[in-house]
């Protein structure tokens, strides 16, 4: 992000005065103003390439994509839920369950069957969350807290604490293949992110989710089917998480009982660092993607620099605090500039 970039962006903004319409991408200058996560990421990348020679190698970058893609897909699920004004802390457990069941059910003999199982598990648990939250009026936090414990318990019960190894020969194909130099999982993540952005900005469903997250009473009064929309949101999140479970099993080649542990925390952090408002109604898919990458780069770098695993958590925690503080600074600035 150089000064010339900024100048060019400003020029673009001047050429198209007020041409933008709601839902379209903001014009350059305005767009940049909201991209503090991107600036953090750029700073982080520069810092990483200066401090570690191994960072910018092709092998490490491929590794980085492999490691962040599943977390990125889970963050997308978390993103749509947070936008709707809720929160889903069961994503890690749901991912774990769909991971072990897709590898273990039917002895893991068919890849297609494994995908179907993973999606079905995710959709089932997600819809259950959604029904309880939307139709019983329960707090999303409590419902998904229950689902977190339930899901993880089922994972341990099913695996008896031992990793499950799928039998199908091609099981690891998707998780390890590359296309145009980038792992296929990475492509899947990007496609899903683009799809999510389209869903949120260009469809009736997306507009409804934003309205519900911003002011539920107004959405209700305007004739929006609030409860049905919310169930679909949680079901969609479950589907994404379920797919993430299969991809994780496929990448690792086995489903461990701890798969997806603490994913909910990373997903929430990525979404918030990406500028999404935790009480709903505002946020960008791109921000959630950048937030995930920031997390991935930090973790990757700390490993490369041989920082102890205990300190790694402290670094990540500090990063969350710094990023959300920066976000408030950015917001104040945006308000003061008329």
């Amino acid at each position: 992000m150089t000064a010339t970039d900024r100048a060019a962006a400003d020029a673009v903004a001047e050429e198209q005065p007020a041409k933008r319409f709601s839902g379209a991408l903001p014009s350059g200058a305005q767009w940049l103003r909201h991209q503090y996560p991107l600036l953090i990421l750029v700073a982080l990348l520069i810092f990483a390439s200066l401090t570690s020679d191994a960072f910018l190698t092709g092998r490490n970058l491929e590794n980085l994509v492999l490691q962040t893609s599943v977390a990125g897909i889970v963050a997308l699920a978390q993103f749509i839920v947070v936008i709707s004004g809720g929160i889903d802390i069961s994503v890690g457990s749901v991912l774990g369950l769909s991971c072990v069941l897709s590898a273990g059910l039917f002895s893991g003999t068919s890849v297609l069957l494994a995908v179907v199982v993973a999606l079905a598990v995710g959709a089932l648990l997600g819809t259950t969350n959604g029904l309880l939250i939307a139709f019983r009026g329960l707090e999303p936090f409590i419902v998904t807290l229950g689902m977190l414990a339930l899901g993880r318990g089922l994972v341990y019960a099913y695996t008896e604490g031992v990793p499950v190894r799928p039998a199908a020969p091609g099981f690891t194909a998707v998780g390890t293949a590359t296309f145009a130099g980038v792992p296929v999982i990475g492509w899947i993540w990007i496609l899903l992110a683009v799809g999510m952005a389209f869903l949120l900005r260009r469809t009736v469903f997306g507009r409804r989710v934003l309205a519900i997250g911003s002011r539920r009473e107004a959405a209700q009064a305007a004739g929006i089917p609030v409860r049905t929309t919310l169930v679909v949101v949680y079901c969609l999140a479950g589907l994404l998480v379920g797919l993430g479970g299969f991809l994780l099993a496929s990448r690792v080649g086995a489903a461990t009982p701890t798969a997806g542990m603490n994913f909910e925390l990373d997903a929430i952090a990525a979404v918030v660092i990406g500028g999404t408002r935790l009480r709903g109604g505002q946020g960008r898919v791109f921000g959630a993607v950048v937030g995930t990458v920031i997390f991935g780069v930090i973790t990757n770098l700390l490993v490369l620099l041989n920082v102890s695993t205990f300190l790694q958590d402290a670094f990540r925690g500090a990063l969350i605090l710094i990023a959300v503080t920066l976000a408030t600074l950015g917001r104040k600035k945006a308000r003061e500039t008329p």
Binding site: A18, R20, F21, S22, G23, A24, R202, T203, V204, F205, R207, R208, L210, A211, S214, R215, E217, A218, A219, Q220, A221, A222, G223, I224, P225, G281, Q282, R335, E336, T337, P338
Partner: protein
């Protein structure tokens, strides 16, 4: 509440009032200016207030009245100039200073904590001094009698102080906030649009209270744009326009017309009553039979296409319950609602919309529009699925509709302006336009001009009359008799959940309506 009191809501004669400024100066503002980023809210304001006097601050929305109220209450510091309170050496800069100087501000939205009891809410400001306000502590100090007296003074004598504040009706909440004046030391009392969300009956209580404050030597500042109330209460009227003081008038020697003209800058066009437009011999667009909902019991009426029918009554008479029950916002306990001759069930606003029934809410900020949405997004909120193919919004179609609505309803701000940054009147136009874009046949308007200024009010009236010309059936819920008569062909009066009278607005007066609403005592 008896009718002689009602009749007194007129400018009081000079006898009990004395000439302006009989008392000593209570506060004085000198060269006060306030600017926000991009907005000059107040410029060079010089204004004095006197002890024992009611000073009304009038102005259209955005004129700077509320800014002045906030500065006088020390909630914000002026950008230039200063405000001094008599007997205090320091000019006002912050809330703590204002509290020391004895300035008490009553907000437009009553500051009531739902989880506290009524009694605790009466004493709420004592928490600022770090003192206990819980019931047992008050009883120990013998404050409970004062609590009850403060509640009685604002007409809440029947409300138990130990009950939760959450149970109070909206009007009662405002009165509860006002009761704090009875237990808080103050020399200046500011009522910032305090009566905007209350009905005429509550206003009588406010008036009594203000009279008592006056007698006690308080300088009362009454911020409002409701002319009848301004003239019933004030001794002097300061008119603001565009952040400047344009005139300070002696209430006894001016007229509402003069003040209104000063407020909006040019002569108010006389509002035409709706053109008589009855579709005779046709099935009524909306028919209600034996409806029971909320406090309403057994209400029946009809609204023809092209007719504007008013539903007038006091708070708690069931007016809003009826409006919500016929538009799918709430479920009636009993009764039948017919739209174009067919009995319909409307379990949700969505179902009502399918029956071509629209409801404009009374609570604009909560239900009227989505807080984070731009004008464009709000304006297509109701009709979005009609502007989409296979769930994907057609942006050109959306844009065309939004532009058309913005120009048709003269909404200030473009499609990208966030609706919450608009003035109340423009917000209301957005809410109304959002629904009218769906071309409903039956339109229910709940307090359509609540909290909006004179100019926007005329705008809304014209829109409603336009609807009637286009053969829509309109039901207007209102707590202002004058509005009911100006806006509607027929006015139905509700009292205690029952329809008690019906008036043809060309032959009725505001007094007829109020008498009917206030029960037999009036007869």
């Amino acid at each position: 509440m008896s009718s002689p009191e009602i009749e007194e809501v007129q400018p009081v004669d000079d006898v009990d009032r004395g000439s302006p400024g009989p008392g000593t100066v209570a506060f004085s503002a000198r060269g006060v200016a306030k600017s926000y980023p991009g907005v000059q809210a107040l410029t060079g304001l010089d204004l004095d207030g006197y002890a024992g006097e009611v000073l009304a601050i009038c102005g259209a929305n955005g004129a700077g009245k509320s800014t002045f109220a906030r500065l006088l209450a020390g909630q914000e510091a002026p950008s230039a100039g200063e405000i001094r309170i008599a007997g205090h050496p320091e000019p006002l800069r912050d809330p703590a200073g204002a509290e020391r100087a004895g300035v008490l501000l009553m907000h437009q939205e009553p500051l009531v904590i739902d989880d506290f009891t009524v009694g605790e809410n009466v004493w709420l400001y004592r928490l600022r001094a770090g003192r206990d306000i819980r019931a047992w502590s008050r009883a120990g100090r013998g404050d409970d009698e004062r609590t009850r007296r403060a509640l009685r003074e604002v007409g809440l004598g029947h409300v138990p102080p130990e009950g939760p504040a959450a149970d109070l009706a909206p009007g009662q909440r405002q009165m509860l906030a006002l009761s704090r004046a009875g237990v808080t030391r103050h020399g200046v009392l500011i009522l910032d649009e305090t009566t905007a969300s209350t009905s005429e009956e509550h206003f009588l209580r406010v008036r009594e209270m203000v009279r008592a404050e006056q007698a006690a030597g308080t300088a009362v500042v009454f911020v409002s744009h409701r002319m009848p109330e301004v003239f019933a209460l004030s001794d002097r009227i300061a008119v603001l326009r565009g952040g400047r003081l344009v005139a300070t008038l002696d209430t006894a020697r001016t007229t509402p017309d003069e003040v209104t003209t000063l407020m909006i800058g040019d002569a108010v066009r006389a509002l035409q009553r709706p053109p008589a437009h009855r579709a005779a011999g046709r099935v009524p667009a909306l028919a209600v039979r034996g409806l029971a909902a909320g406090s309403a019991t057994d209400v029946s009426f009809e609204v023809a296409a092209g007719e504007v029918v008013g539903l007038y009554g006091l708070v708690g008479s069931g007016r809003s319950s009826v409006a919500r029950a016929v538009s799918g916002q709430a479920q009636p306990r009993a009764g039948v609602v017919e739209v174009n001759g067919a009995a319909v069930r409307m379990p949700s606003p969505r179902a009502a919309l399918r029956r071509s029934v629209a409801y404009l809410t009374e609570d604009r900020r909560r239900e009227g529009f989505v807080a984070d949405f731009t004008n464009a997004e709000n304006l297509s909120l109701v009709t979005l699925s009609r502007l989409a193919t296979a769930g994907v919004v057609r942006r050109a179609a959306e844009r065309a509709q939004v532009d058309e609505l913005i120009s048709r309803f003269q909404i200030s701000g473009g499609p990208r302006t966030p609706t919450r940054t608009l003035s109340g009147g423009n917000q209301q136009k957005v809410c109304l336009a959002t629904w009218l874009a769906a071309e409903p046949e039956v339109i229910v308007l709940d307090e359509p001009t609540k909290g909006i200024d004179v100019g926007a009010r005329l705008n809304i009236y014209q829109i409603v009359h336009g609807l009637s010309q286009r053969d829509k059936a309109v039901l207007v819920v209102t707590s202002e008799a004058e509005e009911a008569l100006l806006l509607c062909h027929r006015v139905l009066v509700l009292r205690d959940g029952q329809l008690v009278a019906e008036f043809d607005s060309t032959h009725a007066s505001t007094e007829d309506l109020m008498r009917a609403a206030l029960a037999e005592e009036a007869a």
